[in-house]
């Protein structure tokens, strides 16, 4: 097996091994350290000596041994200090027996990493490490922070898990929807961190991998399916979204032949299936909107009426400013740019959109469609100043420059 092959296998096994250990011994933080060491040992030994017959059992054994080594001193101290509060019986049921349990364990890990007592940055880091199986260094490079900072962020997150006594068991049924929503949000945030640079871990693909995993664990949940579909349908456009030099290409100007037909088919099937058999939710609706775009062979074939209807439904679940804004653009596509501009003006009174560069981006686009080139140019320039995203800024400035030459040809 190639070293990349090992890497994939190891990352696949990480949450299962960690889950098995936590189930047996408790102490999430110590188990996590032990698993990291076992993974390191595997990465060194397997390529040299060959892969063991039962890689998962091998990892559990090595990690358990490491855990025992580590915890002797620690454990003795803890026992003295704190009779039995943190003790988990060593006679807990064997964790590495069956597949169903692995699945449960991975899901429990996800819930634990995205626990509401952790802040967003901690949830993301911990999920990438414990469920994604990435190393601290990989996570640090992907999120562009020093390794030491990431190490501390993860250590602190693990301490918080320990100190707040978060149990390694399913959330109570009443809490389940909220806890699952947190998991899905963390996965979606990781997806949106996806950088194009090739020297970093691909977070978008990592997020898709974890969303797939979650979908396998909870196939009956429509929102999990919806999130996976949304990611697939968005990621499908990746090759067309930037030029070779890294410049952004707007959806309506993308070369649609570059879209990934496989991913589109998979995402569309997923979301269609979810919407017909489960309760509707915001991820399904966003995926459905993405699917309508993805299925239009040409921009002018886009079914904007359907997109407006989907936004109307989406807003009932979550009247997020971005949804309202996108709806206004969709309305402009059906009723003309003036109608969209009127909606934008109304939206501007929403405090959540005050100083939001996206309003200005939408306005610039609609003014351009309306043929008001001077105003459109001013809007593009203003939007460029307001964004903090470099590729977007470059794109907006270029757009403004193009209008300049159209408005007064030399």
């Amino acid at each position: 097996m190639t070293s990349t092959g090992f890497e994939h296998l190891l990352r696949e096994l990480t949450p299962q091994v960690l889950g098995a250990l936590v189930r047996r011994y408790g102490h999430f933080d110590a188990c996590e350290d032990a698993v990291q060491e076992a993974l390191l040992a595997a990465a060194q030994q397997w390529p040299r000596d060959g892969q063991p017959d039962q890689p998962r059992a091998w990892l559990i054994t090595v990690a358990s041994r490491r855990l025992t080594d580590m915890s002797f001193a620690e454990e003795a101290r803890r026992r003295r200090e704190n009779a039995d509060a943190l003790e988990v019986p060593l006679t807990a049921p064997a964790a590495d027996a069956a597949g169903a349990r692995d699945a449960d364990d991975t899901l429990l890990l996800l819930f634990l990493c995205c626990h509401p007592s952790l802040n967003r940055a901690a949830q993301i880091a911990l999920t990438l490490r414990a469920v994604g199986g990435l190393t601290t260094d990989e996570i640090a490079r992907a999120l562009l922070v020093p390794e030491e900072t990431m190490r501390k962020r993860i250590t602190r997150a693990k301490q918080n898990v320990r100190n707040s006594g978060i149990p390694f068991r399913p959330p109570p049924p009443a809490e389940l929807p909220v806890r699952l929503a947190a998991v899905l949000q963390v996965l979606y945030l990781i997806f949106n961190e996806g950088y194009t640079s090739t020297d970093r871990v691909d977070l978008a693909e990592e997020a898709i991998r974890m969303a797939r995993l979650t979908y396998r664990l909870l196939p009956g949940n429509g929102e999990v399916a919806g999130l996976l579909a949304l990611m697939l349908l968005t990621h499908a456009r990746r090759a067309a979204r930037t030029t070779a030099t890294g410049e952004l290409v707007r959806l309506d100007e993308q070369d649609r032949s570059l879209w990934d037909a496989f991913a589109i088919a998979e995402g569309t099937t997923l979301v269609t299936d979810a919407m017909t058999r489960t309760a509707l939710g915001p991820y399904q609706l966003q995926a459905a909107i993405a699917a309508v775009h993805d299925q239009s062979e040409r921009t002018e074939d886009t079914d904007w009426v359907q997109i407006i209807a989907l936004y109307d439904l989406l807003i009932r679940f979550d009247d997020s400013p971005v949804a309202l804004l996108n709806r206004a653009v969709a309305v402009a596509m059906v009723q003309g740019p003036k109608a969209g501009l009127i909606l934008l003006e109304q939206l501007e009174t929403d405090p959540r959109l005050a100083n939001h560069h996206r309003v200005e981006v939408a306005r610039a686009h609609l003014l351009e469609l309306a043929g008001e080139l001077t105003a459109a140019r001013a809007s593009y320039l203003l939007a460029a100043r307001m964004t903090t995203n470099t590729p977007e800024q470059r794109y907006l400035n270029k757009r403004a420059a193009r209008l300049q030459s159209r408005a007064d040809p030399e």
Partner: protein, 121 residues
């Protein structure tokens, strides 16, 4: 989200070196402690103090070609003394850190978002 915090200080005090040594030491201790805290909280990205403004060399383009000159470009009352970059959950958290710096050191701190290079939209 990443933010840069630009700390400015009084140019005259710097040039004349009229700091109170005790105050100066306190400021140094504060920055050291803050660096430790921000590393421990997983928010630290980088920081540096700047050399003396007189060590500045300004290079600029003019119609006659590139011109280099010793000293800063502009005569100003406040000069950049140090910068720090943090990775925090919100702008408010960055402002809070800046507030801590201002409270302790008494300088002016500008907080500005850093551009990010991700091409997802």
């Amino acid at each position: 989200m990443k933010f840069i915090m630009l700390a400015y200080t009084n140019a005259q005090t710097w040039v004349e070196g009229t700091w109170d040594p005790e105050e100066f030491q306190k400021a140094c201790d504060f920055y050291e402690q803050l660096g430790k805290e921000l590393t421990a909280s997983g928010e630290f990205v980088s920081t540096a103090g700047l050399g003396d403004p007189s060590l500045t060399r300004t290079i600029r383009a003019t119609p006659a070609g590139t011109v280099a000159a010793d000293g800063p470009y502009a005569e100003v009352k406040e000069v950049l003394a140090s910068y720090g970059i943090v990775d925090v959950v919100s702008a408010d958290r960055a402002y809070e850190i800046a507030q801590q710096i201002v409270d302790a050191v008494g300088d002016i701190v500008e907080v500005r978002p850093l551009m990010d290079g991700s091409a997802d939209s």
